[in-house]
């Protein structure tokens, strides 16, 4: 029977001249072996570009600045005591969590609006709303930087037209933080929208009809039908976005380069500053590794919830 593990691929033609197969021949003829061999190029790529750099980063993070001596967890201890790094942890969490929450809320709202726009118009709006996501991030962030520029700011020009004073968009800590989050939300919302739109389309219409007959109004349908049915997609999307937002580099680097006074640095930009610009690669590696336990913790709980719910509701 084809159980996926022991079906010969080559059949009789692959048998040895004597008709008895060696262990190696049997191994080579297993379907699982074929599958493994087909996956091998991808496994090698992942190993070269993900596993190796990850382990190398761990190795680097345990060396001294000149990379001549093993210092164990010294770099991590040093970073944790440093005020700037404590700020980086706070800012990374603020940046990622605020941006992801806003992207999720906006994406969900837009997806709902899209879902209720009839046929052809929906495609046009969907295309237009995807534009921020398809423009290369570095380019669009440069445009945003120009719009926030103290001398040529388009936003300040609008404010001036209404009689308001200029706002130093990227020059004051909290405003600069707001700007970096706003650009990330602008860029990332279309992804949430498209994922949620796909999820909305997959909710069976009959559940809404049944709930309408059961007595649910629009808000109750949202909370008792739509959200529970979309929980898995919401969880996966939030997790994915959390990972990419935590690791965001382009927006902060281009808009503020971590300033003013390190008040917008996130893990990636701070790692770049410490590791590349200041030449302390081990410290930069240690900095970037701080993301791992935070994201692993989030991923564990999100994926556990997804698996549990999938088992519960899968028909």
């Amino acid at each position: 029977m084809a159980d996926g593990t022991n079906v010969p691929v080559g059949g009789l033609a692959a048998a040895s001249p004597k008709g008895r197969k060696t262990a190696m021949q049997k191994f080579a003829q297993r379907r699982s072996t074929t599958g493994f061999l087909l996956c091998l190029p991808l496994i090698l790529l992942v190993a070269c570009f993900v596993v190796y750099p990850a382990f190398y980063a761990i190795y680097l993070s345990m060396l001294n600045k000149k990379m001549t001596a093993f210092v164990g967890l010294g770099n991590f201890q040093f970073l944790l005591k440093r005020h700037t790094f404590q700020l980086v942890i706070f800012q990374s969490c603020l940046f990622a969590i605020t941006a992801v929450v806003l992207k999720a809320l906006l994406g969900f709202t837009l997806a709902h609006l899209m879902h209720n726009i009839p046929g052809k118009n929906q495609k046009i709006w969907r295309g237009l709303l995807l534009v921020p996501w398809v423009i290369p991030l570095a380019l669009s962030t440069l445009t945003w930087w120009w719009m926030f520029d103290p001398s040529y700011s388009a936003f300040n020009w609008v404010l001036n037209q209404f009689g308001f004073a200029n706002v130093p968009w990227l020059g004051v800590g909290w405003i600069a933080r707001f700007c970096t989050i706003a650009v990330n939300v602008w860029y990332g919302t279309p992804f949430f929208m498209i994922m949620y739109l796909a999820a909305l389309k997959s909710v069976p219409e009959q559940l809404y009809e049944a709930s309408a007959i059961d007595g649910a109004n629009a808000v109750q349908k949202l909370f008792f039908v739509t959200l529970p049915m979309m929980r898995n997609i919401i969880s996966i999307t939030v997790l994915f976005s959390l990972i990419t937002t935590f690791a965001d580099f382009d927006i902060v680097r281009i808009l503020t380069a971590g300033g003013p006074q390190d008040m917008t640095h996130v893990f990636a930009t701070y790692a770049f500053q410490v590791g590349i610009q200041s030449g302390d690669i081990p410290l930069g590696a240690a900095d970037s590794l701080f993301m791992f336990p935070i994201l692993a913790f989030a991923a564990f709980f999100v994926l556990r919830g997804v698996t549990k719910r999938t088992k519960e509701i899968a028909a």
């Binding site: 069976p204 559940l207 049944a210 309408a212 059961d214 008792f224 529970p228 719910r309 509701i313």
Partner: protein, 367 residues
């Protein structure tokens, strides 16, 4: 008070396609009415308009003495059972059944009492804590019915509830539905494409075709006195045989039906008055397979012998279906399994012409 009235109701979709073309239907309190017809006949659309899930293009729908055209589904006091059950997959059976009551802010003990009562009627008490995915098709359908029952609504609406079940379970659930209606005689509108379901469940059957109602009547009325060729062909399994024919003079001053040169059968005297006006006209003779059976030497009035060449024999155990071709038209007879029939042989049959129908070939109206 839970009469349902559908008055001159039209449903037109974008592009001018009319799914329902001005139908009128009155359903009495406690009545079990089945809408039956082929796919696309407008039966489900009609049901969904009664439920409030489809807007009405024109006409009026009354439930319990009120016009409900602009009343949302939740305020119509109806309950509906869907073809795909439409159970909330993230809720337990109990929560599925209690959902409507919770939304209506019933007290917790009242909700529990009602759900327990419904679960007992439907024999699903042990399933109350399970999620829908852990249930079989039949159990899911029971839960869907339970969700409808607990609300104690004015009207039950069923949209092809048994279509997703296998044949055996369908028969079982059909009986369950009938039992539930006997226990809780709520006004019920039931949609199906299965004429056996319609015949076995309904107080009255509504046969729909092409967006209009062809005939409304009790199952017996539809079976014995179809109004149109469509109803005659739709009700009954196997379907009625239709043979082009001509009404002409028969022996002893009576009338006869000429099917072919060699097959001319006398019309029973009791029907002569009805068919006299059609003498000399091309008509269609309709006769059900069960009224075409093995030949008996001692016949009854209205019985006549016809000999036909056997094409296919289908033994069914308790009966045998024999298929013939008469002048290019397929004919089926239902004969005793003990009767010998073999392909290629001539089989003597008795046609019970007391049960015959004559139809106009152009309109299909039964005369």
């Amino acid at each position: 008070m839970a009469e349902v009235s559908v008055r001159k109701v039209v449903k037109e979709y974008e592009g001018g396609v009319q799914a329902v073309k001005g139908i009128d239907l009155d359903i009495a309190d406690h009545e079990f009415v089945v809408l039956v017809g082929p796919s696309g006949c407008g039966k489900s659309t009609t049901l969904r308009m009664i439920a409030g899930l489809e807007e009405i293009t024109s006409g009026e729908i009354w439930i319990g003495g009120d016009v409900v055209n602009d009343v949302p589904p939740r305020d119509r006091d109806i309950a509906m059972v869907f073809q795909n059950y439409a159970l909330y997959p993230h809720m337990s059976v109990f929560d599925n059944m209690a959902f409507g009551l919770k939304l209506r802010k019933f007290p917790k003990d009242e909700i529990k009492r009602r759900v327990d009562d419904a679960a007992r009627i439907l024999d699903i008490v042990p399933l109350l804590d399970r999620k829908p995915r852990a249930l079989s098709g039949g159990q899911r359908q029971r839960v869907a019915m339970g969700r409808a029952i607990v609300r104690n609504p004015k009207v039950f609406l069923f949209d092809e509830p048994l279509s997703n079940l296998d044949a055996k379970l369908r028969v079982q659930m059909r009986t369950e539905i009938k039992k539930v209606h006997q226990a809780i005689p709520t006004t019920t509108v039931y949609v199906t494409h299965d004429q056996i379901e319609a015949m076995t469940l309904a107080d009255r059957v509504v046969v729909m075709n092409g967006g209009v109602i062809e005939q409304v009547g009790t199952p017996q009325q539809l079976y014995h006195n179809p109004a149109t060729r469509f109803v005659a062909g739709f009700i009954g399994s196997p379907a009625m045989n239709f043979l082009p024919c001509r009404v002409q003079d028969g022996a002893n001053g009576g009338l006869a039906v000429r099917i072919t040169d060699s097959i001319i059968v006398p019309i029973p005297p009791a029907r002569a008055d009805r068919y006299g006006a059609y003498k000399g006209k091309e008509m269609v003779l309709g006769i059900r397979p069960e009224h075409l059976f093995e030949h008996h030497d001692q016949g009854k009035p209205g019985w006549t012998r016809v000999d036909l060449p056997v094409d296919v024999v289908e033994p069914m155990g308790m009966e045998t279906m024999v298929h013939f071709f008469v002048d290019g038209s397929p004919v089926c007879a239902r004969i005793d399994p003990a009767t010998h029939a073999a392909p290629g042989e001539m089989l003597p049959l008795t046609a019970d012409l007391n049960q015959m129908h004559l139809m106009l070939p152009d309109t299909g109206r039964v005369v």
